[in-house]
Symmetry: C2
Subunit: 449 residues, 2 copies
């Protein structure tokens, strides 16, 4: 049976099921389809299913033509989970958000598992890709699967293989990002390797699902902590009149032992602000504290407020206050060159500004209409950056450093720019020389932070 | 005058003075001498001066023959600070330790400055290399120099250029580590560039002495925090039965956004455990807290105690207690392949073990005799690791992962090894496979942590 399943993956006669067709699941489903596998994409969202089957995309960096090609050949989307019985592999790519009390919200994972359990059969492999705490696969997925008279490792197989997607990364995408796999048993791992090894360039087997779960968390904790650290140092440098971007650039010339991270207006996206707390929660069950994670969360989440303080201070110099000030927020996606606004600090900043009574507009070439959010809804559309428009704002808050912004124009016409990404402070060698020539006074009169 | 001084550096007719002939100053002095400059090395330690002039070395990775060569050609050491008047450049490489209350101890910097001030003259450049808080050069050095009727930037020149030595690094040493320089004025920087640019491959000019001071601190803070983070995660992983080294290795396969740092028995050396607190102290003057630094300090400094706890637990399984147990500490240098024991966690662990009533020996091929310390003195010599000796200890604490240790032999004969460096847990791909074959039980029966 094991050999049979492996040979199905090797000769691409296996059918692949991908559950959750978002930023992770959709590109993965397309990869399998493009590699010659028949793929069924599952999602409870009927609109997504309909769009995909009509060859439409709802993610900016996945083109309609790419979807159309796959739909024509070997990909279909459905919300009918009884089709699970037709697939040989079930790859779960659903969100793992946090509850309001910072505890893991595994609802999507649990609901998905419950939806598939009645349709599971022998000779299938299940892979969980959602980021989660060590133990999830064995504590949450495994008992549900085995409740259906299937023994994992004998009848059906189970692996954890964390997604490592980095949307808009020009160099790395699904196929060339090495894939970690931990199996519940040796045979689970063997089959998992053939499931992924036939579409992804490099497979990294590890000794358990727990190790694979911890690996993904360590990656994101490392990032959250390093961004938190540089955000803290930024505040210190700011008080001392030191340009943090010049310091980071100089430190980066050390050929060992230093990796640059950059400060910003706060963490965004579906991973870095959220995942670390999955470990915090689980560690507490073992009686251990994760103080670095908590501190990173604290420092990073106070950044939007810090940006506001800097804005208030800069406006005060011109005898203006936030109340009734006209403010433009540049960028509401959580990072450069994407259309994803989940957990975006830009949105948090808009919320804070509105509370203070400012008149807030935004401009984001990737997000033409302000998306509906669970907690609040703003009736806004992205502003066209004409010189007259740019000139009309009391302050412009540069939150997301999209490539598509015309930074020269913004600087030229902007009255006051709060630059949270260091666009105007990242120093080229020429600027260092220019600085020295003009006796170290700063080049731009209208930039703060 | 400026041109004159620069041309002296360019044609190597300038005399170089280096103050403080330790791990930083001595290799730098030798570099200048080897590049063809005449060099006077200054140190208040008469023994060091005598040794150098006799062609002897007191640093393991600097050979006597190298010193002899320089002494014969163009290098002499002295403790006569009036010779300062003969040199064109004064490079200060003295220690910047902490006081007991974690505040900066600038005594060496201040004493050195006071010693040189009476002998300063026009057309000299002074460079501070000691790691310190932003503002030191301008607040501590500058006023003292100018007290002697010399105007910095006109008569005499001042730069800050942090040392970045990494003793025993096989790839990077003084000459090929890029050199950050910040000048007090534009001309200070110009002259500083020619002082260093004629012996060091790459010069990185920055816009002020403050930026240069902050750069060095950021480098070391980054390291202290990342080591602190992984030490914290190690404790969590340990509780969960996860091999942290396997996790770090797997995470390192991510081709972006992750840099591996490794856990250990605590921070050591003259930089990483100390320097970050220089920023903490200075930041407080600006009313800002540096919580990441404090947390890293807290986590890292509790590591020796954690190692003890693991030892107690492992001994308890064999019905032994620390009291009267025979313990061997492997490695008392603060890092691999060096003879430097400053702030070494191995020494702290010996102190803690002695307090608990253990019989403690150590073995360190780089430190044959236990060095005298300010706070405590142990009459110990490095033990030869014969099979019989290795077998005679109740526990062996692997603290420093020197290349010279025979790890196979230690594992073979050791009754119990507490492996704080992951020597036996760093997994090669073969070990992962072996693990899977033996059903994921651990290969070594006598290893803990």
């Amino acid at each position: 049976m094991i050999k049979n399943l492996i040979s199905k993956f090797n000769n691409k006669s296996a059918k692949i099921g991908v559950i959750g067709l978002g930023y992770v699941g959709l590109p993965l489903a397309l990869c399998y389809s493009e590699a010659g596998f028949e793929v069924i994409g599952f999602d409870i969202d009927k609109i997504k299913v309909k769009k995909l089957n009509h060859g439409e995309s709802y993610i900016e960096n996945i083109s309609c033509s790419r979807i159309k090609r796959s739909i024509k050949s070997s990909f279909k989307a459905t919300n009918n989970f009884s089709d699970i019985k037709f697939v040989d592999a079930i790859i779960i790519c659903v969100p793992t958000p946090l509850k309001k009390n910072q505890k893991p919200n595994l609802n999507f994972v649990i609901k998905t598992t419950n939806l598939i359990v009645p349709h599971l059969r022998k000779e299938q492999i299940i892979s969980l890709e959602s980021t989660t705490y060590p133990g999830t696969t064995e504590e949450v997925i495994l008992p549900r699967i085995e409740s259906n008279n299937l023994k994992v490792g004998r009848d059906i197989f189970l692996v954890y293989s964390p997604e490592r997607e980095d949307p808009s990364n020009p160099h790395f995408h699904t196929v060339n990002i090495p894939k970690i796999i931990g199996g519940h048993t040796k045979n689970c791992l063997l089959i998992g390797k053939s499931l992924y090894g036939n579409v992804i360039n490099k497979i990294i087997p590890v000794s358990s699902t727990k190790v694979a779960e911890m690996t993904k968390l360590l990656e994101n904790i490392h990032r959250a902590v390093n961004i938190g650290l540089v955000n803290e140092i930024k505040i210190v440098a700011d008080k001392m009149g030191i340009n943090i971007y010049e310091v980071i650039k100089a430190a980066s010339t050390k050929p060992f032992g230093f990796t640059p991270y950059f400060p910003g207006p706060g963490l965004g996206g579906h991973c870095i602000p959220i995942d670390p707390f999955y470990l915090t929660w689980k560690a507490r069950q073992y009686g251990v504290d994760t103080d670095f994670i908590k501190l990173a969360g604290k420092v990073n989440s106070k950044m939007p407020n810090w940006v506001l303080k800097k804005t208030i201070k800069a406006l005060a110099k011109e005898k203006k206050s936030l109340k009734k000030a006209k403010i433009l927020v540049l960028g509401i996606a959580y990072k450069r060159n994407v259309d994803d606004t989940r957990e975006s600090p830009g949105i948090e900043i808009i919320r804070l500004l509105k509370k203070k009574g400012s008149i807030v507009h935004y401009s984001d070439p990737h997000v033409p209409i302000f998306p509906e959010k669970r907690d609040y809804k703003f009736n806004l559309r992205s502003i066209d950056l004409t010189p007259k428009k740019i000139r009309s704002y009391d302050a412009i808050l540069l939150i997301t450093d999209h490539k598509k912004f015309d930074y020269k124009k913004i600087k030229y016409y902007g009255k006051l720019i709060v630059d949270t990404r260091g666009i105007y402070k990242k120093v080229s060698d020429n600027i260092v020389l220019a600085w020295l020539k003009i006796n170290m006074t700063f080049l731009y009169h209208n930039i703060v932070i």
